[in-house]
């Protein structure tokens, strides 16, 4: 534990920096969040991280709120607030200025080029998120089967994701996941 440093400062610098590298959204940064929060700073255990991910998926709102949960478990309400703002504000300000510049320039070729180049990157990052989370959560065969089943159902049908989360919760409650 990095106890000599102010936890709020650590949260602000961790997530402020991380947001600048979160290409393709908050869910691509999950492996990095896990690496920093569990392996580097020891803010959370593996199990707590998996639980926090589940809670963030259960609540409404943007995916980025997993950061609020990490901040809250480090330093209470102030921690949640600092982590959330650190993750959101720098890139929002960047987006604000870039959008103003782009609206005045007619050269729209660069954005599409950069976007095309970033798409495979963000898919790879999201795949890594799934893998890292599966390794922390799917410790039994039954758990892995639930994940696989949810993945297949969500890919093959247009089922509302909420039902799959609910089904997972029920299977867990009756003790099938272990």
């Amino acid at each position: 534990m990095n106890s000599d440093a102010n936890p709020l400062l650590a949260l602000a610098s961790t997530f402020g920096l991380m947001s600048l590298f979160a290409v393709g959204g908050a869910s691509t940064a999950i492996p990095e969040m896990h690496r920093v929060a569990v392996d580097v700073q020891h803010w959370l255990t593996d199990r707590q991280f998996a639980d926090i991910y589940a809670i963030s998926q259960l609540s409404p709102g943007p995916n980025v709120l997993i950061v609020t949960l990490i901040g809250y478990s480090v330093a209470g309400i102030a921690g949640g607030l600092v982590a959330t703002l650190a993750m959101c504000v720098p890139t929002a300000v960047l987006a604000y200025y870039v959008s103003r510049v782009l609206r005045r320039s007619s050269d729209a070729r660069w954005p599409t080029l950069i976007q095309a180049a970033l798409v495979p990157l963000s898919i790879g990052l999201m795949g890594a998120s799934g893998f890292v989370l599966a390794r922390t959560s799917d410790r039994t065969v039954a758990a892995a089967l639930v994940t696989a089943g949810a993945a297949v159902l969500a890919s093959a049908t247009r089922l509302n994701p909420g039902w799959l989360l609910l089904a997972g919760g029920c299977l867990g409650f009756v003790g099938l996941i272990g």
Binding site: S19, L20, F21, A22, S27, P31, E32, A50, D51, I52, A54, I55, Q57, S59, P60, G61, P62, N63, V64, L65, T68, L69, Y72, S73, G80, C88, P90, T91, A92, A95, Y96, V98, S99, T112, L113, I114, A117, L118, P120, L121, G124, M126, G127, G130, V132, L133, S137, D138, V146, T147, G149, A150, A151, A154, S155, G162, L165, G168, G169, G172
Partner: protein, 200 residues
């Protein structure tokens, strides 16, 4: 740079465009979209902004989303901020952002407090374990859906970049900044070279 000059510079010839929303309308609209959005707000944001309020045409929405997607950070947060500021300047951006993040952040904090208090109860532990297994399945299916266009186009370069990033972050657990500082310039250079080759 007066904040209201961009909309004036691009007059949308759309007769049904209503008056630009005020700060409270922005806050309330984004709070509603956010609270409706289980597992991602984007669908609801499109429905609210384009279909319900008609604050943007579908093309304008796609354009703004594309911009926010190639910039780093939480996409929907960027989109919200850019959207709000387009109508009401910085204050509009902040109002929309507060609506998007504020109410769900309160909910999530209450859940976190409950978890800290009751997280050790066995039944709750089992439920959370089940939810998280299913949630990971949903994430994997999103990855699969995003991968399909690359596979259909036989975009070998894209697939190799994707696998390399996956291995570096997921298997080797390298730090994200280091990986991206190598991967982003490389991927842009390759894409640029391929397009030039395709053009000539």
């Amino acid at each position: 740079m007066p904040p209201d000059s961009p909309p004036a510079a691009v007059p949308a010839p759309d007769l049904s465009t209503p008056a630009p929303p005020n700060l409270i309308a922005l806050f309330v609209a984004f709070a509603k979209m956010s609270l409706a959005g289980f597992g991602g707000v984007l669908v609801w944001a499109r429905r609210g902004i384009v279909d319900q309020h008609r604050w943007m045409t579908a093309d304008e929405f796609n354009e703004t989303f594309a911009l926010c997607h190639f910039l780093p950070g939480p996409n929907i947060v960027n989109l919200t901020f850019v959207f709000g500021s387009r109508f009401r300047g910085l204050a509009g951006g902040i109002a929309a952002f507060a609506g998007l993040v504020g109410p769900p952040a309160v909910i999530v904090t209450v859940l976190a407090a409950l978890y800290q208090r009751f997280g050790e109860i066995d039944a709750l532990r089992r439920i959370l374990a089940g939810v998280s297994c299913a949630a990971i399945g949903l994430l994997i299916s999103t990855v699969f859906r995003m991968m399909l266009p690359l596979i259909k186009r036989r975009d070998l370069v894209g697939l190799v970049v994707m696998l390399a990033v996956f291995a570096a972050i997921g298997l080797l657990r390298l730090p994200l900044p280091a990986v991206l500082l190598v991967a982003i310039p490389l991927s842009i250079a390759i894409t640029y070279a391929m397009r030039r080759k395709g053009a000539t």
